[in-house]
């Protein structure tokens, strides 16, 4: 009898224990902390909640790899997206809007299109912008072995894309 009790105890030890730390059951995604003087800028993208994706706002990457029967190289697409986003963030540091978090990547045929907003208030040198566009397009094309096009539009400053302040 006692031997069987010992067995039970060891079994209990192997199972998950009851947690004594404070729990975090709240959904934190898509919730931006507000400020007392309403200075936190929210873009339309940020203002909409995650459950509004596909209803009030759209995806930040567009391709067919997440559809049934089209899944051929989904991890590759995810990796490519990250490469492109990091490159754009690193290459246009002065022109980014909301830290470059809202760059949209679209795949159409063999072409990869990078869309979104850039700002020019810190330095407006159009010739330089053209050089950088040419460089970025060619660099990413050679890197990803497929034509890459930039369809980035310009706003004067980050405030132009503000949807709300909280």
């Amino acid at each position: 009898m006692l031997r069987s009790l010992q067995h039970v105890e060891s079994h209990i030890n192997q199972c998950r224990q009851i947690s004594t730390t404070s729990t975090l059951l709240k959904n934190r995604a898509g919730k931006t902390k507000s400020t007392s003087n309403r200075t936190q800028l929210l873009t339309y993208e940020m203002a909409q909640k995650p459950h509004h994706i596909g209803v009030r706002k759209s995806w930040l990457t567009w391709h067919s790899q997440n559809l049934e029967e089209f899944r051929q190289s989904q991890p590759l697409v995810v990796a490519q997206d990250e490469v492109v986003r990091r490159f754009i963030r690193g290459f246009f540091p002065q022109n980014l809007v909301v830290s470059g978090n809202e760059i949209v990547i679209k795949r159409r045929g063999n072409v990869l299109i990078v869309a979104g907003f850039l700002q020019y208030s810190r330095r407006l040198d159009i010739r330089r912008i053209y050089w950088m566009f040419g460089f970025a397009e060619e660099f990413l094309s050679i890197l990803l072995k497929q034509p890459v096009k930039l369809e980035l539009s310009f706003v004067e400053s980050e405030e132009t894309v503000a949807y709300n302040y909280i």
Partner: protein, 664 residues
């Protein structure tokens, strides 16, 4: 119940139709054969070109769309240089770009260095591959290296190399023949080079046996890069070869004909005929080039007629480049310059020649309008630019419209390169139509469809439109607004055109504008004045290069425009700059020390102040006017202030004292 009956009927009908379908044999129509681009063409026809969009080479955003010709070139080249920099990086460090998931492997995304002629194996194979890639100078270096290392080069490879170096005169391929970089191809300019004597081509010519082919290649090269000595050498070679009973090829004849006078060229043609070499379009083009050297207009006409007649007799269809040579050289080049036509005789000769040239062009257009145009030589596209130039001189709008319709028709396969020649063509056409048309509506429609997509904004065009607006009895606010906005983007706001903008804006009858147009007027004036003030305030060391100080006349005009839109306060703030001595002295100066306010603008401002019963404003105007007017002129103005405004005795005393102290 009714629903059930209805359903039954439908099912019954379907069944009966299925039965009859089985009875009839189904035939599938054969697929209509379509070319790969047919669907795209159909789509393009439905949608049509967007005349307001920028060229696809540019970033489609208002701040990045270029409006002037210079900006178009700068931006296009900047983008291309960016691409070349990235390609250079990838060539230098290919391992960093080794994300090799493409199947099949695409060499377009794997740029590679060209073979270094000093590093590669000195073999015929390497030499042939360099020749194939048309790297002329590299091929020359490798060939010389092989000679110094005593490596034998076969006669066949030597001939290949000779062909290449003679064609390009031992230097690299000119920009116009670059395949991959469109910017360099269109904007790059090569100097006209003369034959590089004593180079690899000469060396190879001495080494190779003197066959018909080698002599022909040499003569063609000497004629292509001709100067006096190379031409003499080419002729001597020809004579020697003929004496040795050799026959040169058609290309060599073409070269010789093109660089001779017309009489010599005729003899050469006869020799060609004797040797039973049939001429082609290039031969006739060379003959036409020879004909252009005749100094007299009548001789040239006769020669052209003869050549065209010969072409017709033989059955060679003239290319557009043939017409280009004719059109370009019909009128004496000395008479084209207005300043050089200093007497009546020359003017009459010019008119006569121009009339003949236009009738020739009319004939040519009639011929080409019915045929399908295809590029034969590289200069075919120049015909359109040259023809519109001639029609512009002759002010012939009707033929210009015909030329444009031929150029834009589907049967025309000869297109001018964008941003360079095509832009000149459309600019000439637009200027011609603006000059010949009285209707501002027509000008507006044409202007908005061409500027800035096809034609860059330029000073001549803008001043032409301002002139047209001044002479026209009607007013056209959308056109004026558009030209001013284009002028702002093209940097025309300082200088003569800036003055023109202010003048035209002050001529606008505000009461004749609609509500939204008046709002547009207000915002345009606000924008312009803000820009002028901002530019005048670039007093820092870094920005001084861009500073344009306000002139007194400019200030008075701006103040007038501001009062028109109801911004009196801003207007008087601006006017006070004229009375502030510090504003025009020292490094911080924003106003030009020289010049005077416009009397008409000041008079209107003064009247406006009186209407408003604004003593301060009227007194400010009086003080500014006193800078140019004497006491007799100022006294009546002062009296009007006393009449119209509520002037207290103290103010009256000050004004009277001020006027009295002015010089008589």
């Amino acid at each position: 119940m009714i629903g059930r009956i209805g359903l039954g009927r439908v099912i019954a009908r379907n069944l009966s139709s299925t039965e009859s379908g089985i009875a009839q044999k189904l035939t599938i129509q054969p697929a209509i054969e379509r070319s790969p681009t047919e669907l795209l063409n159909a789509l393009s026809e439905t949608v049509g070109p967007d005349t307001t969009a920028p060229h696809f080479a540019y970033i489609d955003d208002p701040i990045t769309i270029p409006s002037t010709q210079t900006a178009k070139k700068t931006y296009f080249m900047a983008k291309e240089f960016g691409k070349r920099a990235a390609r250079e990086l990838a060539t230098e460090w290919p391992t960093l770009f080794a994300f090799d998931r493409d199947q099949p492997r695409l060499p377009a995304f794997r740029p590679q260095h060209l073979a270094d002629p000093l590093q590669v194996d000195p073999t015929e194979k390497s030499l042939l591959s360099i020749i194939e890639s048309r790297e002329v100078q590299d091929a020359c270096i490798l060939y010389e290296r092989m000679r110094s290392e005593n490596v034998d080069v076969s006669e066949k490879v030597q001939l290949e190399l000779f062909r290449l170096v003679a064609y390009y005169n031992s230097s690299n391929v000119p920009f116009a023949e670059w395949e991959s970089w469109a910017g360099m191809r269109n904007f790059g300019e090569n100097d006209h080079s003369v034959w590089n004597s004593g180079g690899v081509a000469d060396l190879l010519f001495e080494t190779l046996p003197k066959t018909d082919e080698t002599v022909s290649i040499m003569i063609s090269g000497l004629c292509k890069f001709s100067d006096h000595s190379s031409m003499e050498r080419a002729r001597e070679l020809y004579k020697e070869h003929r004496a040795a009973k050799g026959k040169i090829h058609r290309e060599a004849f073409n070269g010789l004909i093109g660089s001779s006078s017309f009489s010599v060229a005729r003899k050469l043609i006869q020799e060609m005929a004797a040797q039973k070499i049939s001429p082609d379009v290039f031969t006739f083009n060379s003959l036409l080039t020879a004909a252009t050297k005749a100094p007299k207009f009548e001789d040239r006409m006769k020669a052209y007629t003869e050549v065209i007649g010969e072409m017709k007799a033989i059955g060679v269809e003239p290319a557009l480049s043939s017409y280009y040579i004719i059109i370009k050289n019909l009128v004496d080049s000395k008479l084209l310059d207005n300043e050089k036509r200093d007497n009546e005789e020359k003017n009459a000769a010019f008119k006569r020649q121009l009339t003949v040239a236009v009738s020739w062009l009319d004939e040519i257009l009639n011929r080409i309008s019915t045929s399908k145009l295809t590029p034969v030589t590289s200069s075919c596209n120049l015909f359109f630019a040259e023809a519109i130039g001639l029609l512009y001189r002759a002010s012939n709008e009707k033929l210009a419209a015909k030329l444009l319709s031929i150029y834009e028709s589907k049967s025309n396969g000869v297109k001018m390169p964008s941003f360079t020649i095509e832009s000149i063509f459309y600019n000439r056409y637009l200027q011609l139509v603006i000059e010949q048309t009285a209707s501002l509506n027509k000008i507006y429609d044409l202007y908005t469809s061409m500027v800035p997509r096809l034609v860059g904004v330029n000073n001549t065009l803008s001043s032409l439109i301002y002139r047209k607006i001044s002479t026209s009895s009607d007013s056209h606010w959308p056109l004026l607004r558009r030209v001013i906005i284009d002028g702002i983007t093209a940097g025309q706001i300082s200088g003569v055109l800036g003055e023109e903008m202010r003048k035209k804006l002050s001529d606008v009858q505000l009461h004749a504008l609609g509500t939204s147009e008046r709002e547009q007027y207000t915002s345009l004036v606000q924008k312009l004045v803000a820009v002028w003030i901002e530019i005048s305030q670039f007093t820092e060391e870094k920005m001084r290069r861009l500073q344009r100080k306000l002139s007194p006349s400019q200030i008075s005009e701006c103040a007038l425009l501001l009062t028109r839109i109801g911004e009196q306060q801003k207007a008087y703030e601006l006017l006070e700059l004229l009375l502030d001595e510090n504003a025009s002295i020292g490094e911080e100066a924003t106003v030009h020390p020289k010049g005077h306010a416009r009397p008409w603008a000041m008079a209107e401002l003064f009247e406006d102040a009186l209407r408003q019963k604004d003593t301060f404003g009227a007194a400010t105007c009086l003080q500014i006017m006193s800078l140019t007017a004497n006491r007799t002129k100022l006294e009546p103005l002062a009296n009007r202030i006393f009449e119209k405004c509520n002037v207290n005795p103290e103010q009256r005393r000050i004004i009277e004292g001020f006027v009295r102290l002015r010089p008589q």
